[in-house]
Amino acid sequence: MIKIENLEKIYRTEEVQTKALNNVSLTVNEGEFVAIMGPSGCGKSTLLNILGLLDEPDGGNFSFAGTEVAKAAERRRAELRKKHIGFVFQSFNLIEELTVFENVELPLIYLGVGAAERKEKVAKVLEKMQIMHRRNHFPQQLSGGQQQRVAVARAVVNSPSLILADEPTGNLDSSNGNEVMELLTELNEAGTTIIMVTHSEHDARYAHRVIRLLDGQVVLEHAHV
């Protein structure tokens, strides 16, 4: 599903150049659950942003579902994002002016899904995430665990083939964190590919495979069994 070769990303300021990613190559197959780990500043979020088509690499190849996207235009990337990718962030990133229902509805709106179908899909996913009773609340009225469930609901509402999770449990206590990891595992078992950036060895154990980064390079790749 994802194949990257010799990927490079360089951050430049006036004085210094930092190689955030240095010749990174990896492949993620359909249906896999991959965890990316490493210390702060090792480049894992940068990698995730590139994988999520939010950022552009400075060099290397990136094939997404069989097409080369390393140099794709923003319009094309936006198109791929909304069709194929769901995002879950550490800080939830819900829009504060929108209710739970409206937040989850948003990706469907961008996909041009009709109102009736939207209502149905959102209701279904909210039920599944057990947050339906909170559908008319605003994010700030919810607990962290609830907010992250909403974020996951939003990420999966359009049934993406890939979910990118950036420290999904980073802002949660352990019981809420476990709940979210269970959710992700369920999604994975239903066929969704998941790539997750995490600091937590505990969370990483949910993944099939762990990729460890250090200073922008892949230093270790190993499988969990």
């Binding site: 990133n93 002016e97 961008y110």
Partner: protein, 786 residues
């Protein structure tokens, strides 16, 4: 999608209440200003355009070369219209009419009633050419007879009780010592407010020709004060007509006098009425342009607020944008969302603006002397909607394109890439706003000073305490007896009479004169005895007119300007145009201060009195006017006195300047208000953004004053820069305006300095209050978020 956008817009408005209200107030005020100006401009544009012949209707003017250059006159020879109609097949109709301010005022007498009226004489096709809403009578026939009169509905009602049966009745008109019995042949409805010409009745030009004993055919060397109007046939080429009429006098006249006819579309008379050296040089259109520019500026200032606040608070909305981008929102949908937000905002503002306009129109009408109203007219609806849409798009464009173009990762992290350019744009916009405000302040200041100067300038005569009224009936027929008795009334210091208008005489009685080979354009006025004495004009040498000198009726008094223009060494005793100079008066300003004092002659004509001037003893004016009224009624049975003060005539000359002055004040206040709103918003925003910094600084021991300085120094610098940039611009603008006055104030440096200080003070007050508030917050509150 739309519903969703509206929802987000609504919640965003709720979340950023201060910004919302600043934007709403700013845009409403801006739109209200622009709409009011639109109404005014539309009204100005509509002047004289309601005639059905518009597009084919022209007035014939004449260029005359004088010693000072080419003079363009609206007055032409009396028989020109007839001659043109014969000469030029492309002319469908042509008519001649006397100017509306030509005669001192008529009295119409019918069924023992006397009614004062403004009358004109016009030739047969007058009502075919102009659409003056003829209610009774055939447009081609009403002025066919030399004894015809066409009355306004109002006049007909005043004379005959009702306008319906006025046609076919007779009345007598009287003017000074002239009178004639005429037959009512038509009645016209009210003249629209947007008409330059206003009159109560139209008499036949044939009658006027008879009174004046004019010749029967055109002498091409003639000129005169008469208006000549032509309507071209459908399909006639205007350019060909212009070329043909331009060369007409040259072909007809073999004399070496350089004169040429030219035409002006009648619809342009009101706005493009000025000619310099023979070519059109604007006119009232300058004010139309000026106010249109002001409208645009005020709206621009309001839009700038919107842009500034939108980009300033962008960091708080970045997350929303970032999330939407992550979810795959296209740039187009983001741009559309922001534009929808600003357009919705401006439509909301439009509603408030309409209420504001409705509330302010009476006051605006009082200042401008118009009768503007908000009515459901297609042009107004289109203008209001168009204006609101344009404002919304303009205000929203910058934030929309700027914010939607940011890369998603940076946005999500709340990191503003390229914020330097953004900062500069914001700074530039603030500078621009304050530049306009300073410009407005300088303009207001200079206009006020010039008007005060005009009020207080020594005109060379004393206009205060002098009443003017028209002589009618017996007073006009026996002016000498009337004046003699008048002077004996208690409270009357002196009295005199003349023919024409003293203040700002129309360009009729002026023409070239020659003296020892020199030529100059000279204005003259026929007066009775005591003219100089009544008005307090100082005699420089020689003597005034006096009944003791029998021969005075062939003698003249001139002014200093005339002496100077002919270069006379010993003017008294010289003969000019067959008349001997008996006195030289010091220069006085009978024309507005826009004009230089021109060469001027007083002729003694004790028997021709159109207007009477009476100097009243100070302190007893009202009492004396009462006495004048009684005396007038007694001397002149059936007539009542309608007087005005000479000062009013004088003030009327500067009506448009005074209007501009008052309006400039209002608009300057608007501009400053809206600019300050923006500044207020920006300071509030900066204070909020730097909340944590303020908290840390306070914990480390910063004083409140140093925090105020921290928050206000940047914006103060911007306002300072705006002032520096505005000064040269405003200098050029006010200099150009003042150049329109031949007599004007000098431009003092402190007008500019003062304007700058006012702007700075207002800005400081705005920034300072916000900064002070921020500096006093409890630091623990600022830091608690951490």
């Amino acid at each position: 999608m739309l519903q969703h956008s509206l929802l987000l817009i609504y919640r965003n408005f709720k979340r950023f209440k201060t910004t919302f209200f600043i934007n709403l107030v700013g845009l409403s005020v801006g739109l209200a200003g622009a709409l009011t100006i639109y109404l005014w401009v539309h009204d100005e544009w509509s002047f004289d355009r309601y005639h059905a012949t518009t597009g084919r209707l022209f007035q014939v003017l004449e260029n005359q070369r004088t010693a000072e250059g080419i003079d363009t006159k609206y007055g032409t020879a009396p028989l020109l219209a007839e001659a043109l109609a014969e000469e030029m097949p492309e002319i469908e109709y042509a008519a001649v009419a006397t100017p509306t301010n030509f005669f001192p005022g008529f009295t119409l007498v019918a069924q023992e009633k006397n009614v004062r009226a403004n009358a004109i004489y016009a030739s047969k096709d007058f009502f075919r050419i102009f659409s003056y809403n003829l209610l009774e009578g055939d447009p081609g026939q009403v002025l066919a007879s030399h004894a015809a009169v066409v009355l306004s509905q109002e006049m007909a009602a005043a004379l005959f009780g009702t306008a319906a049966n006025a046609v076919g009745k007779t009345l007598e008109w009287q003017m000074v010592d002239l009178k004639q019995t005429v037959l009512v042949t038509g009645v016209f409805g009210p003249i629209p407010a947007n008409s330059t010409e206003r009159f109560d009745c139209v008499l036949s030009f044939e009658a006027f020709k008879g009174i004046m004993k004019m010749g029967r055919s055109m002498n091409w060397a003639d000129d005169g004060p008469f208006g000549t109007f032509v309507v071209l046939r459908e399909g006639a080429k205007e350019s060909e007509f212009r070329a043909k009429i331009g060369g007409l006098l040259q072909r007809k006249l073999s004399t070496n006098k350089e004169r040429a006819l030219l035409v002006q579309p009648y619809a342009n008379k009101y706005l493009f009425g000025e000619y310099t050296n023979g070519v059109p040089s604007g006119g009232r259109i300058e004010y139309v342009k000026l106010f249109s520019a002001i409208a645009v500026f005020i709206l621009a200032i309001a839009c700038i607020n919107f842009m500034n606040l939108a980009t300033a608070k962008a960091s708080r909305r970045l997350k929303e944008i970032g999330i939407k981008k992550t979810l795959g929102a296209s740039r187009f949908s983001l741009v559309a969302h922001f534009l929808a937000e600003s357009v919705l905002m401006s439509f909301l503002a439009l509603l408030i603006a309409l209420v504001l306009v409705e509330l302010l129109l009476p006051q605006f009408n009082a200042i401008t002397g118009k009768q503007l109203a908000l009515a459901f007219q297609p042009h107004l609806v289109a203008a209001a909607l168009g204006l609101a849409l344009l404002t919304g798009l303009l205000a929203g464009s910058y934030p929309a394109f700027y914010l939607s173009g940011l890369p998603p990762v940076a946005v999500l992290k709340g990191r503003l890439v390229g914020s330097l350019a953004d900062l500069w744009t914001r700074k530039g916009l603030v500078v621009f706003q304050f530049m306009l405000s300073v410009l407005f302040i300088v303009c207001v200041w200079v206009i006020q000073r010039q008007i005060a100067f005009v009020q207080s300038k020594d005109l060379g005569y004393d206009r205060r305490g002098v009443v003017a009224f028209e002589a009618a009936g017996k007073a006009a027929q026996q002016p000498e007896a009337f004046l003699a008795e008048l002077k004996r009334l208690p409270g009357v210091v002196n009295a005199t009479g003349f023919w024409g208008a003293f203040v700002n005489t129309y360009d009729g009685p002026g023409g070239p004169m020659e003296w020892q080979g020199r030529e100059s354009t000279v204005h003259h006025l026929g007066v009775t005895y005591d003219m100089l004495e009544t008005l307090g004009i100082t005699l420089k040498e020689g003597r005034s007119f006096s009944p003791q000198f029998r021969s005075d009726s062939f003698q003249i008094i001139v002014n200093e300007a005339l002496v100077a223009s002919f270069g006379m060494k010993n003017p008294v005793g010289q003969v000019l145009g067959g008349q001997r100079i008996v006195g030289v008066a010091k220069d006085f300003h009978h024309q507005s201060l826009h004009e230089k004092v021109r060469p001027f002659i007083f002729r003694l004509e004790p028997k021709a009195v159109g207007t009477v001037l009476v100097r009243l003893a100070p302190g007893r004016e009202q009492e004396t006017i009462g006495r004048l009224r009684q005396f007038y009624a007694a001397f002149n049975p059936g007539y009542t006195l309608t007087h005005r003060f000479l000062d009013e005539d004088y003030q009327a000359q500067y009506a448009s300047e005074r209007r501009v002055g008052v309006l400039a004040q209002y608009f300057a206040a608007l501009a400053i208000l809206v600019s300050c709103l923006g500044l207020f918003g920006l300071t509030a925003f900066t204070a909020e953004k730097r909340r944590k910094e303020i908290g840390i600084r306070k914990v480390l021991g910063a004083s409140e004053l140093s925090i105020v300085y921290l928050l206000s120094s940047d914006l103060t610098k911007l306002v300072g820069a705006a002032i520096l940039l505005a000064l040269p611009v405003s200098y050029v603008v006010v200099k150009q305006w003042l150049d329109g006055f031949e007599y004007r104030i000098g431009l003092e440096y402190w007008y500019f300095l003062g304007a700058g200080l006012v702007a700075l003070a207002v800005a400081w007050l705005t920034i300072g209050t916000q900064a002070w508030k921020a500096s006093r917050t409890n630091p623990t509150l600022c830091l608690r978020d951490e």
